[in-house]
């Protein structure tokens, strides 16, 4: 299998040369790209011989001759709405779309802009922050992103700034076997607070390898939402790196609905005492979709708390993977880490895999993990039917109930309702009058 890896790495080298030929940017930035590409070449494209990629079959991806995204104007269709005021930035095939982007005035000192612009105007801040988030150094697609990113979002909140209005970032892809590398760099200084909603969607076949870098300072609060609604032919191989300061609080809510082969690697580093993170994910899979969350929570300081709640609802021949690591460093005493993975199989051909991992190097910690996979409870289904609820609606109600506590964690009401509707539509749920 290793022999096949260079066959796709070589085209990447060619694409990278094409890409650099058309860039106009500071040499220092180009230097970062070259370093990232060198990192990718040393990592190589992952194979199933590597432990971290054992579960992910990238075979279908290797059969495609991938291109840089088209520069021709494209029709993107309707865009998702947050249902409330938002600072909206839209990117089509990784490029900023100003006509689709809008938002109210920002508070003094707060920056929400395109990354390429920030790289020109706040070069020092961007270059010192870029590619620093935990977990990215080992991730080949994150390295590719660091080499190839054309644009993305840059969010910066100075110390103590509170942004009430959510930031809504929409990344649209339009197929043509394009390689797309959107990037988010968010820096919340001490005590700052923000909500970021990232949506990935598209049509046709493409390979989306997004990276989100989230750095939050002491006492900062971040609510991060990611809605992956890629096209049925799409590949999505993303990475999220979260670094948290002392007493900071982060929530990440991941929702995976689309794509052919999708995987998100989320690394959270509790890099100060008393930091707290709550990470959850919900995968809806049908047909032969493959959906994967690889999560690593690293407790580096004492008194950190973390929660993971990852679920999947799988129909058809869909497969889901959850691989979750809790790593507690030797001095991170009084850490409290919890992890729960639950999978609901709606068909006999669907498969769910859960791999909990604990590496506890401190001796005074609380860590717990649990995992369950099962079919719908026939007793519960009968109970609902015995009260008059038709079989299909009874099953839908039980699926909805299974997923509901993930949805309930989403604080943005219109978004929560929209995702609830996505789930309901998937299930052809109960008649509206029963809800």
């Amino acid at each position: 299998m290793t022999a096949t890896a260079p066959s796709i790495a070589d085209p990447y080298r060619q694409r990278f040369a094409e890409f650099l030929a058309n860039r106009r940017e500071p040499d220092s930035l180009t230097g970062l790209r070259r370093a990232a590409f060198a990192r990718f070449e040393s990592l190589g494209l992952p194979t199933r011989r590597q432990e971290a990629w054992r579960s992910t079959d990238l075979g279908p991806l290797q059969a495609v001759a991938w291109n840089l995204p088209t520069t021709a104007p494209v029709e993107v269709g309707s865009l998702p709405d947050l249902g409330q005021a938002a600072h909206r930035l839209v990117f089509v095939n990784g490029r900023y779309a100003p006509a689709l982007s809008q938002g109210p005035a920002l508070p003094d000192g707060v920056t929400v802009t395109r990354l390429s612009q920030a790289a020109a105007s706040q070069t020092t801040l961007v270059e010192s922050s870029l590619d620093q988030a935990p977990g990215l150094d080992r991730h080949p697609f994150a390295a590719l992103n660091a080499a190839f990113w054309e644009d993305g979002a840059f969010v910066h909140l100075p110390r103590g700034a509170v942004l009430e209005t959510p930031i809504h970032l929409i990344f649209v892809a339009t197929g043509h076997d394009a390689l797309i590398h959107p990037r988010l760099l968010a820096v919340l200084e001490d005590g700052a607070q923000a909500t970021v909603v990232v949506e990935y969607r598209g049509q046709g076949r493409y390979l989306n390898a997004p990276v989100a870098e989230l750095t939050i300072g002491d006492g900062a609060v971040l609510h991060y939402h990611q809605i992956q609604d890629e096209s049925p032919q799409a590949f999505h191989l993303g990475a999220i790196g979260l670094r948290q300061g002392r007493d900071s609080q982060a929530q990440a809510h991941l929702f995976a609905d689309g794509g052919q082969v999708t995987r998100t690697d989320l690394t959270a580093l509790l890099d100060g005492e008393g930091a707290h993170c709550a990470l959850d994910g919900l995968t809806l899979g049908h047909d032969s979709q493959y959906g994967d969350f690889h999560v690593r929570v690293e407790h580096a300081y004492p008194h950190g708390t973390s929660e993971q709640l990852f679920k999947s609802v799988l129909d058809g021949k869909a497969q889901a993977m959850f691989d979750g690591m809790i790593h507690v460093r030797p001095h991170a005493q009084k850490s409290d880490a919890r992890q729960l993975s639950r999978n609901l199989l709606l068909s006999r051909q669907a498969q769910a895999h859960s791999i909990p991992r604990l590496e506890i190097l401190a001796d005074d910690v609380k860590c717990g993990h649990g995992s369950s996979t099962g079919f719908l409870d026939p007793d519960a289904e009968f109970y609902l039917r015995a009260r008059g609820i038709p079989a299909s609606a009874a099953r839908a109600l039980l699926v909805y109930a299974f997923a509901n506590d993930n949805l309930n964690r989403i604080g943005l009401t219109p978004l929560r309702e929209r995702l609830g509707q996505v789930l309901a539509d998937r299930l052809a749920l109960l008649d509206g009058d029963a809800r």
Binding site: D377, P378, D379, A380, F382, Y383, L384, R385, A386, R387, G388, I389, P390, A391, A393, A394, L397, L398, Y400, A401, F402, N404, D405, L430, D431, D433, A434, R435
Partner: protein, 256 residues
């Protein structure tokens, strides 16, 4: 309104009900008593339509319609109610939501529009008082973390909200203390009227002090061994089932 004729039922090849004949008219309360494993719960489950039971002979008519060919939800919509011996916990589904879904499913079946929100709220509150249920139970997930008594009260509450034409109570008294038993019995008695029929399945005579039946049947080894007035229950309490030459635990063994 419920006619059971020569009902034979097997579970995994073993015959549990061996020819039941039972007719219950409107407004009547019939009690079925019997030892463990005599087939009492099998009868309740077959009437409600649970899977895993094979009817090998006989028929069950409900208001003249063939009950056995209806799926469980249609039986419920036709006005049949089973109070479960072991109510199922359904995490994530709020009790109130569940009730409204059930009420509207029945209304839809009958060609009626969804229940008006205010009317529904009034009905809920009225019925909650009937079974002395706390309002907080409406927001909790169906039966999740409920005590045994709360689960049984919740069954009677659902019955009171759904107002079926006929209700089967499967050992609704099991595991209840006397106060909870009275609450359950009061709830049932409040629903008794000239049209509504009840089949009360119980292991203990005690319940029948509070829900006074018109007829008592003794079920032994899958057959009705004897039928009589409410005094029969007292007799059974004193003498046990030994007179009926039981082969104890027949159904239970088959189920295990």
């Amino acid at each position: 309104m419920l006619e059971i004729r020569n009902l034979h039922v097997t579970v995994e090849g073993r015959e549990i009900l061996q020819g039941i004949d039972l007719t219950i008219g409107p407004g009547e309360v019939h009690a079925i008593m019997g030892p463990n494993g005599s087939g009492k719960s099998t009868l309740a489950n077959v009437i409600a339509g649970r899977e895993g039971y094979t009817v090998t002979a006989g028929e069950v008519l409900f208001q003249g319609k063939n009950l056995l060919e209806m799926p469980p939800e249609v039986r419920a919509c036709e006005g049949l109610f089973l109070a479960f011996q072991y109510p199922v916990e359904i995490p994530g589904v709020a009790n109130l939501y569940f009730l409204k879904a059930a009420v509207n499913a029945v209304r839809k079946y009958r060609g009626e529009p969804p229940v008006d929100a205010m009317d529904f709220w009034d009905l809920i509150h009225e019925r909650m008082e009937l079974v002395k249920m706390d309002e907080s139970m409406l927001k909790r997930s169906v039966n999740e973390g409920f005590s045994g008594g709360e689960k049984k009260r919740n069954e009677v509450f659902q019955m009171a909200v759904l107002q079926p034409y006929f209700a089967v109570l499967d050992e609704t008294d099991s595991g209840l203390d006397i106060d909870a038993l009275k609450v359950v019995a009061d709830g049932v008695n409040a629903l008794r009227n000239a049209e509504r029929g009840f089949l009360v399945i119980t292991h203990y005579q005690r319940l029948l002090d509070y829900i006074v039946p018109d007829v008592v049947h003794v079920l032994v080894n899958g057959r009705i061994a004897r039928s009589g007035s409410k005094e029969l229950a007292l007799e059974l309490e004193e003498q046990g089932y030994a007179l009926y030459n039981e082969e104890p635990g027949r159904a239970r063994r088959a189920a295990a």
